[in-house]
């Protein structure tokens, strides 16, 4: 190692040392400890007691665990693709030659910046069965709206619907990708006699597929960890815990019931759930993602 490379190494490490310290303290160490606690019974007041795989075995017989897992999967399976399709649709429309594009873009983006607690408050009352605006508007067109908070079959649709309010982030990414699609591609597609639908499927979708893929993965990770809105809107999980999501259960196990070991074991499961779902999404779509630059 020459003097120069040694110097580069020392200085480089010095500059990135804040991240290294942070990574060890808030990344590596917690991961190792989470794994360790997941094999312990730990209520914070007394020292951890090693119980082997008991926490993991407990999950199999824990109805609340299965319910929360199921709710979270249903929420992710509906909210992620719906959000993806809607944000692409809005982006495609905004990418047309229209008057006031930047105004529309702003309007569609704004809900994404609202603090999530405030978002929860808004939808808490928008969906109120008797005094909410949603049911009032449904009533205007002759539909009797459900009791969103009291009916176990409507809490999850409510959470999915309210999440559509904040597609601004992925919409903006889609729009940026659409604006980079070379116009010549559409011209040649046109020459080949492709109509609007064919152009959309054969030009637009492949060209923006890297961003769609990115949004899909980010969407899955976000949906599995969804916490604030369900916590604020359905503090007790709603009727029959039908709106009780996994991240809320982990939080409550840890900080309400002081069951740190069980909460850590569930966090490990959540992590693997994200890995598996991301891997599945990867398997299904990654071969169809088109990278023009490569």
């Amino acid at each position: 190692m020459t003097r120069h490379t040694r110097r580069q190494l020392r200085l480089g490490l010095l500059f990135i040392s804040p991240w290294i310290v942070g990574f060890v303290t808030f990344g590596l160490y917690p991961i190792a400890m989470a794994l360790y606690y997941s094999f312990n019974d730990y209520d914070v007041l007394r020292d951890p007691v090693w119980v082997g795989t008991l926490n993991y075995r407990d999950m199999f017989t824990d109805d609340v665990f299965w319910k929360a897992l199921w709710n979270t999967l249903v929420y992710a399976v509906f909210s992620v693709p719906l959000g993806l399709v809607l944000s692409l649709l809005v982006a495609v429309l905004l990418n047309r030659e229209i008057v006031g594009r930047s105004v529309f873009r702003t309007l569609f983006y704004i809900p994404a910046i609202v603090p999530l607690v405030a978002v929860g408050m808004v939808w808490l009352w928008m969906f109120n069965g008797d005094l909410g605006l949603v049911n009032y508007l449904l009533g205007l067109v002759g539909i009797e709206g459900p009791q969103w908070f009291a009916d176990a079959s409507w809490t999850k649709p409510m959470l999915v619907l309210s999440s559509m309010w904040q597609i601004g982030g992925s919409m903006v990414l889609c729009l940026a990708a659409l604006q980079d699609v070379p116009r010549s591609l559409y011209e040649s597609a046109d020459l080949d006699g492709a109509g609007p639908a064919a152009q959309f499927w054969n030009v637009t979708v492949p060209m923006v597929s890297p961003v769609l893929y990115f949004n899909l993965i980010i969407g899955i990770i976000g949906a599995i960890q969804e916490f604030v809105k369900p916590f604020v809107m359905l503090p007790d999980g709603g009727p029959d815990r039908s709106g009780y999501l996994f991240a809320v259960y982990i939080y409550e196990s840890a900080f309400r019931y002081n069951n740190m070991g069980y909460a850590c074991a569930m966090a490990v499961v959540l992590f693997f759930m994200i890995v598996v779902l991301t891997w599945m999404a990867n398997r299904m779509v990654s071969s169809r993602v088109y990278y023009a630059a490569e």
Binding site: I16, V21, F23, P30, D190, A267
Partner: protein, 338 residues
């Protein structure tokens, strides 16, 4: 000038240019027009055929559909805001009358009352509002911490060559996938061991160790700075730290802006971290106080809850309009385009 695709089409089939013009985006438009003007055939325009008028009608209908969808969608997204503001100004009785769109007389007094219940006390000229001051203190320190630490680390990754650098960088990017739930509990126990629970420290200190996404943005930016600039600084006798501080940071205004704005939004809006660490009323943040408000008065005093929600989201909305281009233009796509 080379022939464009639209020019080699037989007359009477303006489809290509028409369709292309619709799909064209703003950046490409001048180019398209320039070509179109220069290459227009000199022969007089053919009389409009039936095919032309039906095409035009089709295009008009298409436009109409697009605008209807966009306007409808925008209204649907804005209704909750409108409803929120309108309800925040209604009286207690009016809130229950959903069909009444606007308050008969705007109840501006709802706002001071909501602020009072969020914990604000006014004593002469002295205003005491712990929820707000806590949130501001946390947010400002997090912004400062993120900008300094993320740019330092980004500079290290961008301008120094050392063994294992690229692997380390990839590991750092991979940690973005790590769910908060996994690290949340051990980190809590760590801070608990330090006696930091129910203080603002657990919400501030982690910001001083950099965040992968911001480090990534700084690195991309610093990597593009020409070597001559750094060389010049070195010849002038600037050390490594002062090169970063005096040359690199002043150059990276746009990245600093993005990192600062995103950190502000994230910290201001954060709910889970304060929920875990802060208990006593004098330590709570606005987001926590708003949730507590809902539990205490939410059912009886809905107009106050709405006013409190408006107060909480106002700084974010203001910041958004002040710094809009960072959200919808370069900010969002900077990370992907690199």
């Amino acid at each position: 000038m080379t022939q464009t695709t639209s020019d080699i089409l037989p007359a009477g089939q303006p489809d290509a240019r028409g369709a292309a013009a619709i799909t064209a985006n703003a950046a490409d438009l001048p180019h398209a027009q320039r070509n179109g003007d220069a290459l227009q055939p000199p022969s007089p325009a053919p009389p409009p055929s039936r095919r032309d008028t039906s095409l035009r009608r089709q295009r008009l209908l298409g436009k109409l559909a697009i605008y209807t969808t966009l306007i409808g969608g925008a209204i649907a997204l804005l209704i909750p805001f409108f409803w929120l503001v309108s309800n925040s100004l209604k009286t207690d009785q009016e809130v229950s009358k959903i069909s009444q769109i606007l308050p008969a007389v705007p109840q501006w007094g709802n706002y001071p009352e909501a602020l009072r219940r969020l914990g604000m006390t006014v004593d002469g000229w002295a205003v005491y509002f712990p929820a707000l001051s806590n949130t501001v203190v946390i947010t400002v320190l997090c912004v400062v911490g993120q900008v300094i630490s993320s740019s330092l680390v980004g500079y290290g990754f961008a301008r120094y060559r050392f063994q294992g650098r690229d692997t380390t960088f990839m590991i750092m990017l991979a940690t973005m996938m790590l769910p908060a739930q996994v690290t949340m509990i051990p980190v809590f126990l760590l801070f608990r061991g330090l006696g930091w629970v129910d203080t603002l420290l657990p919400l501030i200190v982690p910001a001083f160790f950099g965040t992968p996404f911001f480090i990534f943005m700084f690195r991309q930016f610093f990597a593009q700075v020409p070597e001559e600039l750094l060389e010049a600084a070195r010849i002038d006798g600037a050390g490594h730290l002062s090169t970063w501080w005096r040359i690199m940071l002043p150059l990276s205004g746009p990245v600093i802006a993005i990192v600062a704005i995103y950190t502000f939004m994230f910290t201001w809006n954060d709910f889970m971290t304060p929920l875990i660490y802060l208990n006593s009323p004098e330590n709570r943040t606005l987001a926590l106080e708003l949730n507590a408000f809902n539990g205490q008065y939410g059912v009886e005093n809905r107009e106050l809850l709405m006013a409190a929600s408006c107060v909480t989201m106002l700084p974010c909305v203001l910041l958004f309009f002040a710094a809009q281009r960072y959200f919808v233009d370069n900010g969002a796509s900077a990370g992907l385009k690199g």
